[in-house]
Subunit: 368 residues, 4 copies
């Protein structure tokens, strides 16, 4: 009820034509504060979830985004409550002012902000990290904030995504037989370089189970081929694991299988692949062999969002290293491993920190 | 008179305690517009210049910054009027909102914005590029905008600097006998990679006059040594040239002389030196020789703001290149030349585009 | 006559089955020395030139290679007489020993040597720099050395090339409208980074004449198009210039025209092109535009030997630089210019120093 | 007895004044072959070991070098018997010819060879990889070859070292609390990137035992401090382990203790340390903190041979990565970890492959 009032309040302000969106802090604070500690929290989940999936998520990783995990005991345990807001919209005057004003009006403190106006597409992109521990509506009532953002988004034709830092994303790593990227991700995870949970590793081969065991991560062997299941069956099994483990991000850490178009579309924007070449050179199979044949002097690796079309998805990051005529294919494979590890790890970390936005077939990466 | 009104208006809004600075566009527009075309323009120069030098300039390059060169014929010739606002202040809530709101309120469109909150020093840094062709007070009245910024700055304890893009900065290049950096800067200038004017080259040796001639830049030979003038006399001659040519930026392009402390302090923040080592390694003389002796596997170059203490000023950029045991000192000098050129050119370009801020002995560089 | 003896001597040694090629220094010295100062020198030119072009040149740059310019006044002027021997042959035992033994036997001192055995092709490549100022047959009689090498080459199925350091190679630079590579080569030449002569610049446009004038290099405008000459006529004019100026190396410094297959074949192995992408990505036109569209995070430049097939020739060197979503096509062009300059300059310098060998469509580069 | 004959034979050839060292293959083969399979093998160990340590080892890793491990069952199992010969001597004519001739004379096939003449020190350095499976004296009689090399070495004032590829070097890894380099080395070892045995890990802290356990490597906790043993006692314990496990190489993988001068001297040339800065910048403690304070734009890591003087030993390799003002000390530590891993792994691999030679306080690295 009171919540509706708040919404109305925002809407009214938002509707005013020539004036930027201003949330009057005192009025809002007065309206919301009493509610915050009383009836508000139980209802917010149900009320905000519907609108968000339809017009909200930028990269589709909605499970990490929408569910209002801010609440309960963890809240007080974690004194600094922060969130990342990603947004993109047609470039227009006043967007930056409107968004920063909205957050300021709610009593949020902008810690970091990065924006980019793409001249080619006339699109505007922004990433804002803000602290909402002093939010006037109480940190448990972020759905009110989400609704205000949703309204603003509608006015500016924005796609947006809000991720709460204390909602840790859940990764599934898919591998085949190569171990270097798997090792690398697990070690970085253990040393807290990457903030995420890794509840499962999936492979079409049993070879790397021992690594999963070493790091205490459940290993799921889902074979393919004649005697094993069909591709369809395997994908269904993967989907079941993704659902049961509430996976937010899929990492193809040298997973040497192509997914169906349906699978790729379902997991668009949160599936990251590492390709062992400097794309678009040497798309497809055996890139090091072909690089050796062509006699290139530099080899590379590319992390990109997976698409149904092989090695054609939006590039997140690329790395390169010099080689010489002395480097055999085996040397290139060895040198390439280091590249693959570094480039994949960087892309995964950036994605986990909500630094990557996709527009068309390109990414905007707000690097750290 | 009307101007005072506008100022009062801003002040009043700025003074309100809990509310961010909001400039009511319609009110402001109404108040200022009639003035803009009538009495306003002639007075603005005199009125804004005094406050700016005292509390305004971030890096001291005030000549490029404060003088309101927006006016007269060039105005209509350049349809897109843009400016760069640099600011730094103690980190606090609401700064981003206040600044973007102020610009929006004036009818300016933020084209690009970069900010950084330094956790160590608790300082906030921002660079905003905005288009003021639709400014409500008229593009000829930017002093009003400057005064509004100055007021905001006072509230937040801000150091700030405003540079108008159509006020092209004026460079003096100082060289000794090495030609590679001089060539490089002149070629980049000619090919419009660097937006500036280069009205003079100064050298303590006559050797590079032919290059100055080739590119049509006046060359001033100000020798040093027994028969030539003393250091003091030479510095006085340089100062005279800087004054008469209204120089904004000094580039020490392998100028092998040290300036007096007084000179360095007078030109603090707009004097860029290139040192041929990866500082702080090999400060001082003959860095390549010492790098060769130490047996390093990588050499570097460092562009930094000049200070009286040799090679100790804030670093703007550094570059490196691999070497091997095969590289003699001469090879290192040759490879180093490419580094020096690239690093110096980058630092100069960034400085010309108002991308470099100094805090303490460190820089914040908003790279392009 | 005596010369024949020396040859026979070598042949006999070379013919012995199980024993490596050994030139008995004393015997050889005894046989040759008297001749050296008397009748020998006048005849050597005529006698060695015929065999060399047919079975000698590795990269076809025979004009720099075969003509025995060692002689006359320059000889005594340059106290250190050095030469670069490039050779390639099927990998087999004893090659290194045989070659080093031959040079040692002649009294030459190996200053540097680099070799490479390619496992894939089972080929052996070597580059030897040797000092022949103490050659037992006298430094004016290098044709005798050449004949000995030719015999050894026949035994081992070797392709070889011998370049005398004091025979400076002659470059022609071909350009269109872009000036950065031209400037760069001319400045490096002037500062003696590149050891060569540049007797002419050729262009299909008149735009860069002023640069040629600045550096005092004759500029030949050979236009193409309707009113101008046909492609055939233009190529004929270029060929005439190459012949009259005894050009050894052609540099396509952003020359935006494709040569006929015949032209490419005639100048195979001594024509270096710079392509503004990281080949094999973005072969052909407008690579930066296509890189921008694809959203790559790294751009590159490639120096390669020109072939009739566009951008498909053996790669000499490549360079890359990181870009971000902020980089427009214009930024990429600007950043790419620095790459193109550096990569082309390196490739040219390596070629001038006989560091590049071609086998199939790949290069072996003995870097400095 | 027959062995003495062979030696005499070599000596006689070597003594001849003006003629390069030539081993007549047939004569030598005839003399040695019968012996090879009969009485020769048992005696060779005792007879060659004495001379080698005194004038032989270049880097002191004599345990890997001298003991003639070529023999027994492995011999026939490994069809390709190769060895690396490292040598350095005053630069002089004929060295390359003499060495390659000697190897050729013995029926060895040079697979790869790299050499370098240092103009500054007038020293000559060479690394030769040769296949001795067809050695005329039989692959079990390499001590004869060693003696021939020793004689040649005496003639040319050479320091030399011969390492047989099938004698795998044994590594000890020393760590404190940081795990990234340890993980990295163990994973590369497991994936056969590094050819060595790792029989033990030593630490002054118990923290990383779990990693040693994971990879099945014995972990020795040798604490330091008040209640634990003194530095002397700890070093003695380390020495005992080195002796009992026949360790060839010590890797200080972020081992945060300084060894005594005696220890450093005893293990000179086979102890590799990784320092987390771009030496000589930021020698000593807390380099990232100091780099942050100085405001550098690039950080580095340096692998070097350990000396008693801290961070002053010969540099094997260095790596760097760009940072910006945004990088906190923690970010620098994180980015630095990747550098440290890569640089240390490269240095270790090069050392294991006998690619690193030391002269004075500098290294000659024949990179792969």
């Amino acid at each position: 009820m009171l919540q509706r009032k708040a919404t109305v309040n925002i809407r009214r302000l938002g509707a005013s034509d020539n004036v930027p969106l201003v949330v009057h802090r005192r009025a809002l604070a007065k309206a919301c504060r009493p509610v915050q500690r009383a009836q508000f929290r139980p209802t917010c989940t149900a009320q905000t979830q519907p609108p968000a999936p339809t017009n909200g998520a930028v990269n589709g990783s909605h499970s990490a985004t929408v569910s209002p995990s801010v609440g309960g005991a963890t809240e007080s345990a974690n004194p600094s409550l922060t969130a990342n807001l990603l947004l993109q919209c047609p470039d227009q005057k006043g967007v930056i002012a409107a968004v920063s004003q909205l957050l300021y009006g709610f009593g949020c403190n902008i810690i970091a902000s990065d924006q980019f106006s793409d001249q080619t597409s006339s699109m505007f992109f922004q990433r804002i990290t803000f602290d909402f521990s002093d939010i006037v509506i109480g940190p448990g009532n972020t759905p009110v904030l989400e609704r205000a953002i949703a309204e603003l988004a509608q006015r500016y034709g924005m796609k947006w995504q809000l991720s709460y830092t204390n909602k840790v994303k859940r990764l599934a790593i898919l591998v085949s037989k190569q171990d270097h990227c798997l090792y690398d991700l697990l070690i970085r995870h253990r040393s807290r370089e990457m903030r995420c949970e890794i509840p499962l590793i999936i492979s079409n081969h049993p070879d790397l189970k021992h690594i999963a065991d070493t790091f205490g991560v459940p290993f799921h062997h889902l074979p393919l081929g004649k005697e094993a299941g069909s591709k369809q069956q395997q994908e269904a099994a993967i989907e079941a694991l993704i659902a049961s483990e509430r996976i937010d991000v899929l990492i193809l850490a040298r997973y040497m299988q192509v997914f169906s178009q349906e699978f790729c579309e379902r997991h668009w924007g949160h599936t990251i692949n590492i390709h062992h070449s400097f794309l678009p050179a040497f798309e497809g199979a055996r890139p090091y062999h072909r690089a050796h044949e062509r006699g290139v002097k530099i080899i590379g690796a590319t992390a990109h969002f997976a698409t149904a079309e092989l090695d054609a998805g939006p590039i997140i990051d690329q790395g390169v290293t010099r080689i010489t005529h002395r480097d055999s294919v085996d040397d290139m494979i060895r040198k390439g491993k280091d590249l693959e590890r570094l480039v994949l790890a960087k892309a995964v970390r950036w994605h986990l920190e909500d630094r990557v936005m996709v527009h068309g077939n390109k990414t905007v990466v707000f690097e750290d």
